[in-house]
């Protein structure tokens, strides 16, 4: 029983950290209907920047993170301004590919400029375990899960502000939003900026877990799965999807691995996604698009 609880709790915390990566994807999707395949690259770039600001420029921890978040926000804003805006009206798949190209650029530029070898994320988290009775919980994950919850909550609050409501309107219908005087372009650019900043914070957490190098960009796959599972346009959906993926892959692989003699973690996640898509085609919280003939 404690084994199960430990697997479930750690899985849930990791799931929340997946959800945080995915929330960056959801944010952009909500405002512009674009799925940003460079989100993993953003996370990597954010982590690298935090490292560079702290280890190379000697900024403090908090100023370093804030500076990185600001830089990533600017990068997100620029991305929208220079690339995505020119693609408005093009088929979705082209835009997807464009963001993929961006991801390749980031994966070359950032490690190329700052060094490809793995770097430690300079934040002081003790390795000492946290014991909850017999259950061992990872400190980094507790922090990660907590930050993820706070960030997603902040985003949810943000969507109740004026800018956030504008964003929701834009996501519903570009033309209609235009017609009622919402600055659509500015709103979309804002969502890119915010998702860039979120990527920087995510980069800190995941950098603390696995070190800072190109492999942070691989988080994209997990994040994409979580985002799609959550329905792509719902923050609460993303949190729930993150929890589901995290808990399932942790618990099931914990019990099944010894019998299979292999790591089933990724496969479990894949099966969860496959089945969910079959059973609930628009994700857990997605809006079903009703087509009119």
């Amino acid at each position: 029983m404690t084994f199960l609880a430990e697997l479930a709790i750690n899985g849930a915390l990791v799931g929340l950290m997946y959800a945080l990566v995915a929330s960056g994807i959801v944010l952009v999707y909500k405002s512009s209907g674009v799925v940003n395949l460079a989100q993993g690259g953003f996370v990597m770039a954010g982590a690298y920047l935090v490292w560079a600001y702290i280890a190379r420029l000697g900024l403090g921890l908090i100023p370093g993170i804030l500076a990185a978040a600001a830089s990533m926000g600017a990068l997100g804003w620029l991305t929208e301004r220079l690339a995505l805006r020119r693609m408005i009206g093009q088929p979705v798949i082209m835009i997807l590919m464009l963001t993929f190209g961006l991801e390749v650029v980031l994966r070359g530029a950032v490690p190329g400029a700052l060094g490809a070898d793995t770097k430690p994320m300079p934040i002081p988290i003790s390795q000492a375990p946290v014991w909850l009775g017999d259950i061992l919980i990872n400190r980094t994950y507790i922090l990660g899960g907590a930050v993820a919850v706070v960030m997603v909550a902040l985003l949810a609050v943000f969507f109740r502000t004026r800018a956030g409501i504008a964003m929701r309107a834009v996501s519903d219908d570009h033309l209609a939003a235009w017609a009622v005087g919402i600055p659509v372009e500015r709103t979309v650019a804002l969502s890119w900026a915010v998702s860039g900043a979120v990527a920087a914070v995510t980069g800190v957490l995941w950098g603390a877990v696995q070190g800072v190098d190109w492999s942070l960009s691989l988080l994209l796959i997990k994040a994409l799965s979580v985002a799609v599972l959550g329905g792509l346009d719902s923050l609460s959906g993303v949190v729930l999807a993150g929890l589901i993926v995290g808990v399932f892959e942790s618990v099931i692989s914990g019990y099944v691995d010894p019998f299979v003699g292999g790591g089933t973690r990724e496969v479990v996640a894949a099966v969860v996604i496959f089945l969910t898509v079959l059973i609930r085609p628009y994700g857990l919280f997605g809006r079903e698009v009703i087509e009119r003939v």
Binding site: A116, P120, G262
Partner: protein, 416 residues
Amino acid sequence: MRRWVYWVLVLVLAAGLAAVPALAQQKVITFGFPVDYTRVYVFVAEEWTQGMVDYLTLMNLKGGVGGYTFDWRVVDTGNEPQRGIEAYERFRREGATIFNFISTPVSNAVAPRAMEDGVILLMPFHGRSDAADGQTFPWLFSLGANYWSQATVIVQHILEAEGGNLRGKRIGLVHIDSPFGREPIPVLEELSRRLGFEFQSFAFPSPGTEQSATWAQVRRFRPDWVLLWSAGPSQSVGVREAIRNGFPLDRLVSVIWLDEKDMNIVGAAQARGVKRFEAAVPGREHPVVQEILQKVYQEAGKGFGKIENVGSTYYVVGIASVAPVVEAVRIAVERFGEPVTVDKIRAALEMVSNFDLNGLMPPITITPQDHEGGGMGRISQWDGSRWVPVTDWMSAFRDVVWEMVYKSSAQFRQGQ
């Protein structure tokens, strides 16, 4: 804007196409190092290649070997087999006769070609472990302890640390779920039968940056010793999980892929006690490394990479993986006379005997049967700032290793 993009494309492609093979000069041995600088092997490629090239540069600065100097071609493959094959075909036509890809998938993909073309393929600490079987793979050379040998050396260390008796002990293997990660399992199973310890393996899937569920299982097993079998970022994650789970670090032994940088990511002080398999002496004290620092970096200014890398774990692995080939060239000139051809180098490699580069690496003896060279290594331990050897160079349970090698190479021959 449009024109600009076109011009860049045209220029770059033209430059690529115009890369005419340089005329093969007289008395030059050319190496091909198409390595993975950007993907899975990022953690090792830069330092390893630097070690190889710096050593060859040193040899050139000293006037070459037997009148022969060395040349090399380096390119990134991104760990993609088709890019590796392209680089192989290109470099081979530019005269390269000895290759090291530092990538298991690429090496394995190129191996059939190398064997057909008669090109030497070095596979130290990667590629096919059964390349040790020189009869089946005349053109492949392991030149260092393969993963099966590493597993036996580690178990030998455990056996000695436990006073010669492992009966009733529990040994766990935490490994990445890939062919590489699973390689030691049959060896450890066989040894558990012989020595009477209880063995269990715990896999985590690639990229292995999340291992909490795996380690929860490890804790349930209550192992006395844990072997860590992965590479890259997942290694530091594994060590961290061990610390967190309260596992004594001096009972955690890693495969060869654990270095100073991993320890710094974990936290140099917190990681004190971790052990690993070691195949070359890290540090700058060794005379060869000193010579490289002095002649290559300070006098000639021809260092291939950052000077900070010199003497790192993977840097000396780089030296150790070309030094036997240089030795073979010397033997070839001596025994077979000029001109030195790839066939002569291959034959000479099989004559390299008890070569240890003044103690930088374990003594290696290559024969037509044994392309691994004895499979020796040692265990070293992190003392909080550097790696300290805790055993001598050794090899162990050779019969188990060779049984694995022959079984695997027989499977390979079936497909020929």
